[in-house]
């Protein structure tokens, strides 16, 4: 049974697209068939983060409008054969996305994939509501920072009221993914701790992705961090998160960088 997940946050710049790419790749690395959909019409970036920007021909809006067939618009990942991307349109007419159109595309994708990850745009406008509209589960990406937590709270309220599931009286299962976390600063009282965030948002935790240079390095080269630096702390955090999504009981930890002296010297030169 295919699962539809929305990766959302309200606030921009917290790591939705990075997380969508990393989670999608991690699922595919575990043998699942995955499609990631970019819902950020006009400001697409998932293609860039996944290194597929030069292979975009057709997009989600073309499929919704019947200009292209779904298989024409799907882009297969160069590294993982069971990972696919459905890019957003770079043209500005957001209104081209209709509820019925999105519903049709998602229903079609459900027959072909195990996981459908919808990368939501920031904000609470049309793009964001459409991205969450047909989701079975939601991943709320939150930074340990007041504005991000506030916006996450708002998005949680929308997931409970504006989704197709909510309107049918069912619930969208919600998971919190805390990104850019610095355990040291949290311990010193300089940053909201995981416990603070969980107490405020009252949503189950899916994973803790530590602040790391590996994340930027991965997006620089257009490769999900779980592929580009598989043993790095953020990659392990995303892989653990995916295991939990698949129902495994994985102990919740904040992965830390494993660095030997040589490793550090080499890394500095490479970076």
């Amino acid at each position: 049974m295919a699962k539809v997940l929305v990766v959302t946050s309200g606030k921009g710049g917290v790591g939705k697209t990075t997380s969508t790419a990393a989670l999608g790749a991690a699922l595919a690395q575990m043998g699942q068939s995955v499609v990631v959909i970019d819902f950020d019409v006009g400001l697409r970036n998932l293609d860039l983060v996944m290194g597929a920007e030069r292979r975009v021909v057709f997009d989600l809006i073309n499929v919704v409008q019947g200009v292209a067939k779904l298989p024409q618009a799907l882009i297969r990942d160069k590294r993982l054969e069971n990972l696919w991307l459905l890019p957003a349109s770079q043209t500005r007419d957001k209104d081209a996305l209709t509820e019925e159109g999105v519903e049709r595309v998602i229903a079609d994708l459900k027959t072909k994939f195990d996981w459908i990850l919808c990368d939501s745009p920031a904000g609470i406008e049309r793009g964001a509501t459409l991205a969450m509209r047909y989701a079975d589960e939601a991943i709320i990406v939150t930074n340990p920072e007041v504005s991000s937590v506030r916006d996450s709270d708002r998005i949680i309220g929308m997931l409970d009221s504006k989704t197709a599931r909510a309107e049918r009286g069912e619930r969208v299962e919600k998971h919190l993914l805390v990104t850019r976390y610095d355990a040291g600063r949290a311990a010193r009282g300089e940053m909201l701790s995981i416990d603070d965030i969980l107490e405020i948002l009252a949503t189950p935790l899916l994973g803790i992705v530590p602040e790391s240079q590996d994340v930027l390095r991965a997006s620089n080269v257009g490769c999900p961090v779980t592929l580009n630096a598989a043993s790095s702390a953020p990659a392990r955090a995303y892989t653990d998160a995916v295991r939990r999504l698949m129902g495994e009981a994985v102990e919740m930890t904040v992965p830390v960088e494993r660095k030997g002296l040589m490793d550090r010297l080499l890394r500095r030169r490479a970076a």
Binding site: V146, A186, G189, L192, D196
Partner: protein, 93 residues
């Protein structure tokens, strides 16, 4: 632990402040999203009752809710110009 660190020149922890501000803010905002149109509903009903008797400018009717910790204040502000006409609805009766 925290106190020891403060003694050694560490700055006061700001995370507890963030946490408290968020808790207060969100408890207010959650209430509001529960009934997003309550104030607008009050405003339009108050306006319709008042304008039965006095001509008022709809833009000059302001309804505000200030939520406090223990009690909340519903503030209704209606500007009535001097020498105002009694509403025709009343005059006709």
């Amino acid at each position: 632990m925290m106190n020891v660190m403060r003694l050694f020149g560490g700055r006061a922890a700001s995370a507890p402040v963030a946490r408290e501000r968020l808790q207060i803010l969100l408890s207010h905002e959650r209430g509001r999203t529960g009934a997003p149109d309550l104030l607008e509903m009050l405003r339009s009903e108050i306006l319709s009752v008042v304008s039965k008797h006095i001509d008022v400018d709809p833009d000059k009717v302001v309804v505000r809710m200030d939520r406090g910790k223990f009690v909340s204040m519903l503030e209704v502000d209606i500007e009535v110009p001097n020498g105002v006409q009694r509403s025709k609805m009343v005059a006709a009766t």
